[in-house]
Symmetry: C2
Subunit: 195 residues, 2 copies
């Protein structure tokens, strides 16, 4: 008997054959979506990219700026920090700052940091299940269905890798209403002066 | 006050501003993944594509063939039927059959039928939240962050649209172990003769 997988208690169905049915039920309620934390993280990084490099922002200010729950935003920023995309600065003017130039932070790195880098399509080797499966050795390549799904994911990742925070910044500079840009700058100046 | 959204009871956070914070908490536990039903649906369609066109398969046989829970597989087949990708044939030799030629069934159509066609990246217009937001009219285009994420999704969809069940079938014909192909054909013949 192989060791129980860590998610065994979440399984709602188990096949009698060990390579089959092992994950069934586990992903049933998971839908194709990004976490909202990703949206928050990209927006937070955009703000960090727009401020002078010597500025660090505490989570509290970012949360207030976007009207977000601070505790949950903190988790996203910790994930970005763990991935080396932002750094924490200590002291009275401490907080988060970008750890790299915006041109070196891709959307793919942000997605991987927040939502993980696992493939979206999970192959449970269905072709090796059921009454007509044959020896493992007769399946030298991954299933063609999985490969086709993964090819599409590769196109998605390539596009994300090709877009940087700098590109987002360029759009932001040209499209943010000037009135808002000025209000935001003043708001951060005032709040940072108080801290 | 606007009407409560249907998922109101699932919200864990609500901003004081109506356009902001409205969905917060709703997607927190949703991760970027396909449902496993998608894998089952594509494999089921591949089997239907491989059998003679006059053959219809009851859910029971498809479930037994892949060792899947019949009730949950039935839901996936109903979704495919609702999307016009498979059709139900009645009578003693009844069951599911493809409603179109394999060359006319794209992976995108299968994904949309099972997992839905909604965008993966949800934009909650964060730029219009918080103390520095300005009038709605000053944001004529969708947010640049959302547009960048959607561009990557478009690349993913384009690739899925470019791959058909016929392509999957060609891979299957060349890579399925001959021993399994023969066993599978015999298994279906035998089971269909009994029904």
């Amino acid at each position: 008997m192989p060791a129980k997988p860590p998610f065994a208690k979440q399984r709602v169905f188990q096949s009698t054959k060990i390579n089959c049915g092992i994950n069934y039920g586990y992903f049933i309620f998971i839908i194709v979506k990004h976490t909202e934390g990703l949206e928050w993280a990209i927006h937070s990084c955009s703000i960090l990219a727009a401020l002078p490099p010597e500025t660090a922002l505490p989570t509290r200010l970012l949360a207030a700026f976007f009207e977000l729950p601070e505790a949950y935003l903190a988790k996203q920023l910790q994930k970005l920090s763990g991935a080396g995309l932002v750094e924490t600065r200590r002291g009275p003017k401490g907080g988060y700052a970008l750890a790299k130039s915006p041109a070196d932070i891709t959307l793919l790195a942000l997605v991987n940091a927040i939502d993980g880098s696992e493939r979206h399509f999970h192959c449970s080797e269905l072709r090796q299940c059921g009454p007509t499966a044959v020896s493992d050795k007769q399946y030298p390549r991954p299933c063609g269905i999985a490969r086709s799904m993964w090819k599409a994911e590769a196109a998605w990742r390539a596009e994300l890798k090709n877009t940087t925070l700098k590109d987002i910044q360029v759009i932001g500079y040209s499209e943010t209403p000037p009135e808002q840009a000025q209000k935001a700058l003043n708001w951060f100046k005032e709040k940072l002066a108080q801290s």
